[in-house]
């Protein structure tokens, strides 16, 4: 199987994120592989381990994004590609999906594309289905389990975790799969993996390389990014001689404050 995992580099979720002069900053916190994408990389690796084949990891982003690709390589991916071009700066999902679909077409012969269900930065969660739409491939989103994968019969059966129930869905290959956290537990990069990753060359593809003669301008405008107003809550500590007394006071206060 020829497997592709698509990843993005994001600010660590433990970071305090602030905005200064319109620029978003995670302070001293490191940039990391988008946590959702770890599950995509892991599932790609497990699929390869079960079925044979190779896993390529791809990211669209600036040079720094190579660090995220190296993390995926250290986990065990066979190759990495960075799609990078000044023209992609400030772009949005409409152009991103075009670029990733272009890269998939350039690679050729891909059987499965894995994504994390969303990214922890802008949390749009639309890129996987947009890539599938552009490729004309089935979109299997929010996948919590791959029930069956039949490379010879070119088919895949998955369980989708929707908010209000689970769907078991079958489609043909190639397909685009976005995964949720429940699907697996991502491995840590091994020491050998990290050493190997640090020596690997990561090819760079420009917009022209993936057949985009013109990168579409962003269709979204972002006139302002700001810190949410600080909620000044004074916490009223409820005390009492026994749990029952505390509980009864708490219920009374919640009723007084019309919470209930």
């Amino acid at each position: 199987l020829n497997i592709l995992a698509c990843v993005k580099q994001t600010i660590d979720t433990a970071a305090t994120v602030s905005v200064e002069d319109g620029k978003i900053s995670g302070g001293e916190s490191p940039l990391v592989l988008n946590p959702w994408d770890e599950f995509a990389v892991e599932e790609a690796l497990r699929t390869k381990e079960a079925q044979g084949g190779q896993v390529t990891v791809l990211s669209l982003g600036p040079q720094d994004a190579k660090e995220a690709l190296k993390q995926a390589l250290a986990m065990g991916c066979d190759a990495a590609i960075l799609v990078t071009d000044p023209a992609f700066e400030g772009t949005d999902s409409l152009a991103t999906s075009k670029a990733i679909a272009g890269a998939v077409n350039k690679m050729g012969e891909i059987d499965l594309v894995f994504f994390g269900r969303t990214t922890v930065d802008y949390d749009t969660g639309v890129t996987p289905s947009q890539v599938a739409r552009r490729l004309g491939w089935p979109s299997l989103s929010l996948v919590a389990a791959v029930v069956e994968l039949d490379p010879a019969g070119k088919s895949i059966t998955v369980e989708r975790m929707l908010e209000d129930g689970r769907q078991v869905v079958r489609s043909r290959l190639p397909a685009v799969v976005s995964v949720v956290k429940e699907i697996n537990e991502p491995r840590y990069p091994s020491f050998m993996g990290i050493r190997k990753a640090s020596r690997m060359e990561i090819p760079e593809w420009s917009a022209a390389d993936i057949g985009l003669t013109e990168v579409p301008a962003a269709v979204l405008g972002w006139p302002d990014v700001f810190a949410p107003p600080k909620v000044e809550t004074h916490c009223e500590i409820i005390e009492g001689g026994s749990p029952a007394e505390i509980a009864s006071k708490m219920v009374d206060r919640l009723v007084e404050e019309k919470v209930l």
């Binding site: 409409l94 739409r133 989103s141 269709v219 405008g221 810190a227 009864s248 919470v259």
Partner: protein, 346 residues
């Protein structure tokens, strides 16, 4: 008509998410401001009742694509049919609720129509002929104003519980127009359904009771003799802890949430996780039991109207966000609260 607003009614097998009516409410407001109509769009099989309901909640009329081919939600077929309807109606705005399903669908429509999609909006104003939206980024650590200045229609998904639920008005009437359902290939086939796991859905919940790593620390419990492995003992303890949380949730008609620490420790399935890599929620009341308040968790529940924290550690960050707090052992306080609420609500 360009000033019209289409509102997609999201449902799984005929049961609409309550947020759909919130979307109808927003759609009616937007349409009124623009001098257009709010038109509900319902796709499915045997779903005319949903179209009627949408009108009762404020839609002026409804488009109904009712066909056995639309019995199951399959993204490509739904997107194909919906794209066609949107092209024909030519609205200014198409509204969706925010769910995994609608993000997938709206994303595809955006590709079909080469337009913009703004997911998960929590506020809006109409400015310069466009909807200027506000949406959280970095799980609410920052807010962004986002707009689609030129492309039309503007595709927006609204966050559940961020907008008022309109009152149902049985006296409202409007035309339900049945539309022809074109033959669109479904690239996947639904072969079965499984339950969501019971209980109240986190995103729709008015009250959430959540447990953290602290739920496994009950010193008074001794695991049964056949549970000998240390990890198994820890999980057994945690399950007893979550049972207490479940009882409180049941009395309150609440959903059960959990911190990432509790989920990662194997105490409770991932579907319950609240936070930056789980569900982002904003209930009227959030009761945090044994949750210290890591930044990733706070990001997922900080917009709750009232937060109650129960924690042994008086310095736990969760108290900074809480309106009411109890410094104490959740294993004493939670059952006492269950009892007190049971009496009060009886």
């Amino acid at each position: 008509m360009a000033a019209d607003v289409l509102v997609y009614i999201d449902h799984l097998t005929g049961i609409a998410s309550p947020a759909s009516w919130e979307a109808v409410g927003v759609g009616a407001q937007l349409a009124k401001a623009a001098g257009g109509k709010a038109i509900a769009v319902v796709l499915g099989e045997g779903v005319e009742a949903l179209a009627q309901l949408a009108i009762r909640y404020g839609a002026d009329e409804a488009l109904l694509a009712d066909s056995p081919a639309l019995k199951d939600f399959t993204p490509e077929r739904y997107a194909g049919v919906l794209s066609g309807l949107v092209k024909e109606a030519g609205p200014d705005v198409v509204l969706f609720t925010t769910s995994g399903r609608t993000r997938e669908l709206a994303g595809m429509i955006a590709v079909d129509l080469e337009t913009g999609i703004i997911p998960d909006i929590v506020a809006y104003e109409v400015k310069d002929g466009a909807v200027l939206t506000t949406r959280p980024i970095y799980a609410g650590k920052l807010m962004a104003k986002v707009v689609i200045p030129e492309r039309r229609p503007q595709l927006l998904t609204i966050r559940t519980r961020a907008f008022p639920m309109p009152a149902e008005d049985a006296s409202r009437s409007g035309e339900v127009r049945r539309v022809d359902v074109p033959d669109v290939e479904a690239l996947s086939e639904v072969v079965g359904y499984k339950e969501a796991g019971g209980g109240v859905s986190l995103t729709d919940a008015g009250i959430i009771v959540s447990g953290g790593r602290g739920v496994s620390n009950n010193p008074k419990l001794s695991p049964p003799a056949n549970v000998t492995d240390a990890k198994e003992q820890e999980i057994w303890r945690a399950q007893q802890g979550f049972a207490l949380i479940g009882e409180l949730a049941q009395v309150l008609g609440a959903a059960v949430g959990a911190s990432r620490a509790a989920v990662d420790s194997g105490y409770i399935p991932y579907a319950h996780q609240v936070g930056q890599t789980g569900r982002v929620v904003s209930p009227d009341l959030y009761v945090a039991c044994g949750i210290s308040g890591a930044i990733q968790h706070l990001a997922g529940m900080r917009t709750s109207k009232t937060i109650v924290a129960i924690n042994k550690d008086p310095d736990a960050p969760i108290f900074k966000l809480a309106r009411f707090g109890v410094v104490g052992d959740l294993f004493d306080i939670v059952p006492a609260l269950t009892e007190a609420f049971r009496k009060k609500l009886a």
